[in-house]
Subunit: 376 residues, 4 copies
């Protein structure tokens, strides 16, 4: 009956549905539809695939192509009109849910000196990775933080938050990462505007980092019962130093190089319940082997340049470029320099996969671990 | 520009996006689209709703209307062709993802005496609630179990499983509940057919219940490291007795009556990582107050009759009828009898909501806690 | 220098301390003593033994020898004078810390009809195992429970508790088990008398069992944040039935027969933080193999008769007799009947050993797993 | 009958045992003793005290008085004879169990250049705090670490370990802290000598610190299933920097000043199951208020000088002096300098107290929070 018959998902495999359409059956299917029902065998092979088949596609967004558009937003709309001036990244396979990959949203936000956004909170968890400019700050539940290039910052679900740039700063851009699409998919998204639009600074500047950002030490009297990290800002310098130190004592992962996860120092686990983040260093000339994981990843190059091969597609990147790795898709990374290391920041939904017992990983065994390129 | 302009989600609220389309802006939006990007303020109010707005609708499937169709499947297709003869329930708002509500699949399966399905396993978690007939059995990783009316059975993710009806049994029907749509949405679904099509019985019949189904006692030497319950079958008689015993010492919940959760005896938590199940008893004449929860529910009436009001819609039910409560939708339950108790079985995705920190519940405060009916 | 020189723990093993006393060294030792110090090598082999060498000895207390003394207490002292009329069991090796074995206290309490003890609470955790009589009750934080033969009851640390026998009851005896010696050893024991001497009954009688004593079901709305079980009474009938059911599907343990742990239904773990309890059934004629565990055990025979071999000593027991198994001591159990099963109740400190990562178990490999008897 | 009668623990308080000896009762007590039993009311008030009454006494060991004795051990015994050349600290109230306080052992170990101790392992957990000298190292399960002044190092239970000083080093001393007395009290202590006496170096030097000692970052691919910290060495410099940074954003604790716990970065919890450790900074001139805790503490002054008042006794200390705080004893700390901060290292058994649910803390409310001194 062709590709839109009821039998278009048939498979000739024992244990799989394999029912040809007949007039009697099609009548039966129509009867079921009238009852808001259907015959499982007409869709079983579609909804029970042999392995995940994502709708997301591998793609890179070059910052030099986007930057001009992002800055144009400064002139086109005011913060009062727009709420936030953000250019979001739309995966061609996930435009309907406004996702960069899987159920993860990402955008590039821009703010000028002296601007500040209104405070609000939501069920969605958010993170930021600072790209350009000086003087940016954020205030999360009264904890005000100064933000510099390559700093990684949390605004966890349920926290009041507002961002801004100081009067003596410059135009700033940063990458936003959120699980908005997932919260909507799960029918679990709530939103509130702060009753006073702006919240107060309730603690010494950068107190969260001074209190919780010390290696293997924690304040003895502090209690913490939230599900997210009490450490809200992870600065670039100690992160890069940590990778260099780690590089001296380990080979690293064949698939991911020198790969470290940002953690909640209170638990040793991921910084938020639904999103994790990592920084990985590729040694000069390193070309990692391919593997695939259940989970979706948004990458930003933090240092250096190179390319990744994702699902057989080559994605070239340099500092500030953003690219994605969809779930269960082969990927490998290449540092383009023989002299400098390259660093890739990423955020992902592995905490969701692990919380639900769904995480898997598999290395490519053919071709010495390298994917053949697919003609685009 | 009307309902399909870029400005169709504008809200006149401080802190929300409120940007009118202009020719210059529309040009800008087109430029962004060419870069696989967009302006957040054109969609912000849509993707950050004030509260969840589910696509699922409240609906009841009456068993006396479906039963004939279900039995007809016995004649129309063989188990070999169909894999399983199941009529699935399609929520009008979720037909695209084959869900009964939210990301939960449900169907009614039928099997004749002497039939047995081929063994397989998948990432999706499954459960069964036995509706009709005698002689049904299931085999989960070698643990063979006999199944009777209103028994609740697990076939957790990753377990080999097969179902059948003994030669001396009768035609049997049961409700299947699975998280197939969620597994697909998360790009995490894997499927395998058992290499020998049929698995062996590796333990004494019903050993799981004899070993783990004892109140507040567990085998001293047994270790268990799986993420699902070692108890695979929860029988109806002790469940009903438990509710009767509980009824003698408690008022119960104003929203849910005498409400008990099936648990994993190894942890006291939900039986599987992604789905939970409950049985609740309504006393004769009881009319509970309305509340709403983040989470999706599929109900089956196990005993008695009555109706529920879900999102302002009255859904009448009697034994074997199935209905759903979508996420964050007001619901209240009414026992139609003044003399007999009524029992409602349900399964739901609260373990997902709790694992991700998203669960909320709220009682209706107006109108003494009862919803006004909405004209259909 | 003989057995009381400083060198009396010398061992001729490489890596162990092996320093002979000399005049110069003894002077040195005296100098250190004056500074509240000492030389480690004079005691190292003593405080770092090759394996645990307990001071507790295996011993059985025959109820027919103790019962008369216990009942005599009814006449000798009033409850007001004595607080509680209890005969405690003193292990010959642990009389200094009033322990039956290790750091576990046990006693036999007696109460006459119409008597009730005053309410109090303490850091020590307590449990009871009912031996004789009818009409006994206990009230734990307002939860009043009726107690019958072989029922196992908790009075966890920090709970107000009082015991009594109803007017129409008979003289009752029960075994008390507490971790009083451990609490004292850890400098952690607190005690309070109830400000009103008697506490109120705050819930329906036996509500804890009706609410939490149902197999693999828990009240859906109840929250529980205490570190002990919300189920306070474990009745004998369902326990015995569970063992019979379990016996039909398992061989059981070669060392412990049909062995089940009482658990906290809220967690699946031990009922209290510092003490666990078990019931085990020996089939007619069963003679288990010897093993040893890090942990101390107090046993009471609940049904039948037989003997145990503990540290090479034969301990004969019948219903109501109490015996102990010290830590890391070989033990095996023998049912004396070829026709009836025998049941042994026990409580122990395994939760402490497990919480601190110290639990070990080892089966005897020589002599087909049976200990040679040691002449007493 | 005087202080050694059976009634010497009587209390005239309702709810407490208050039975005077009589000839008949004393006969009864003798009868019970013959049965390895006793009457609870003769000991109840002793074994159920109103609050903990520790046998440990507050005491300080001045390093300038001990140092000469410690160094003398270098000449008096060889490492081969002594195993380790250690002077242990004996609390006057706990000499029988070789404890410095409660169930905690502490000693001062000395080693000369080129010496190395034989490798062994035990159930007891151990830690070291480096006092003097250069070139010390330790090897824990193949992880060799270089040790400097004020570094804190773990040798967790069950790990093979050996210590030494390099040929080009100087005489080194360090404080050992162990839970040996607790392991013996719990009948849980095992000991083994390494089959080859010396173990190999299996990893790059100091790899544990490079891998796990980075703030809020952990190696992405590493798994860890041990109950102790994968970070084995906590260096002094970053610890002191952390305290300085923390001091800029907090008042600190009124009882403990700027007080940080060393943690297991894999869990955020204590570094070992049975012992924790802390470093606290007292600001110039700071005099903390008194509080008391369930738990025993061994302190060493790491920087500066001052005194503590423990149980009403003044204990003066300067760098390298060691003192103890027994369980549930009031204590307060005073920095003797108005210009320099002072730092106190401590280790303690709070992880045991917390694991068993026994931790309590209470601030002194009288006298503005300061203890009156008790004449010695
Ligand atoms: Fe936001
Ligand atoms: Fe990867
Ligand atoms: Fe299936
Ligand atoms: Fe509900
Ligand atoms: Fe008590
Ligand atoms: Fe045993
Ligand atoms: Fe050692
Ligand atoms: Fe303190």
């Amino acid at each position: 009956m062709g590709t839109d018959g009821y039998d278009r998902y048939r498979e000739e495999v024992i244990g799989r549905a394999n029912v040809a359409d007949t007039a009697e059956l099609v009548d039966f299917y129509h009867d079921l539809e009238a009852q808001h029902a259907g015959a499982l065998w007409t869709v079983a092979n579609k909804i029970e695939p042999w392995e995940p088949a994502t709708e997301s596609v591998p793609i890179v967004w070059r910052y030099d192509r986007l930057r001009g558009h992002v800055l144009r937003a400064l002139d086109l709309v005011t913060p009062e009109q727009a709420g936030r001036r953000v250019v979001y990244l739309a995966n061609p396979g996930r435009r309907d849910v406004t996702a960069a990959v899987g159920w993860l949203y990402s955008g590039i936000q821009v703010m000028g000196p002296g601007e500040v956004a209104s405070s609000h909170r939501h069920s969605a968890s958010a993170l930021r990775f600072i790209m350009e400019g000086s003087g940016a700050f954020t205030n999360v539940d009264g904890h005000k933080m100064t933000l510099g290039r390559n700093d990684f910052v949390l605004t966890p679900n349920g926290t009041w938050h507002e961002h801004g740039v100081s009067e003596d700063g410059t135009v700033c851009t940063w990458q936003d990462g959120l699980d908005i699409p997932l919260m909507n998919a799960l029918d679990a998204n709530f939103y509130e505007v702060h009753p006073e639009l702006q919240q107060k600074v309730g603690f010494p500047i950068d107190d969260s980092t001074a209190t919780w950002g010390n290696a293997a030490l924690r304040p003895a009297g502090e209690t913490w019962s939230k599900r997210y990290s009490p450490l809200l800002k992870y600065e670039w310098e100690p992160t890069y130093e940590a990778l260099c130190r780690y590089a001296r004592v380990t080979e690293g992962s064949p698939y991911d190089g020198l790969h470290m996860d940002y953690v909640n120092p209170h638990t040793g686990g991921p910084p938020m319940t639904t999103m994790g983040a990592s920084m990985q260093m590729l040694r000069p000339g390193q070309h990692t082997k391919a593997h695939r994981e259940v989970g979706s990843f948004v990458y930003q190059c933090a240092k250096g340049s190179g390319h990744s091969i994702v699902g057989g597609q080559r994605l070239d990147w340099k500092e500030r470029d953003i690219f994605v790795v969809p779930s269960w898709m082969w990927h490998e990374h290449v540092n383009g320099s023989d002299r400098e290391d390259a660093c890739l920041f990423s955020f992902h939904d592995l905490p969701v996969m692990r919380a639900l017992g769904l995480y898997r990983v598999e290395g490519l065994t053919i071709n010495d671990g390298y994917q053949p390129l697919i003609a685009a």
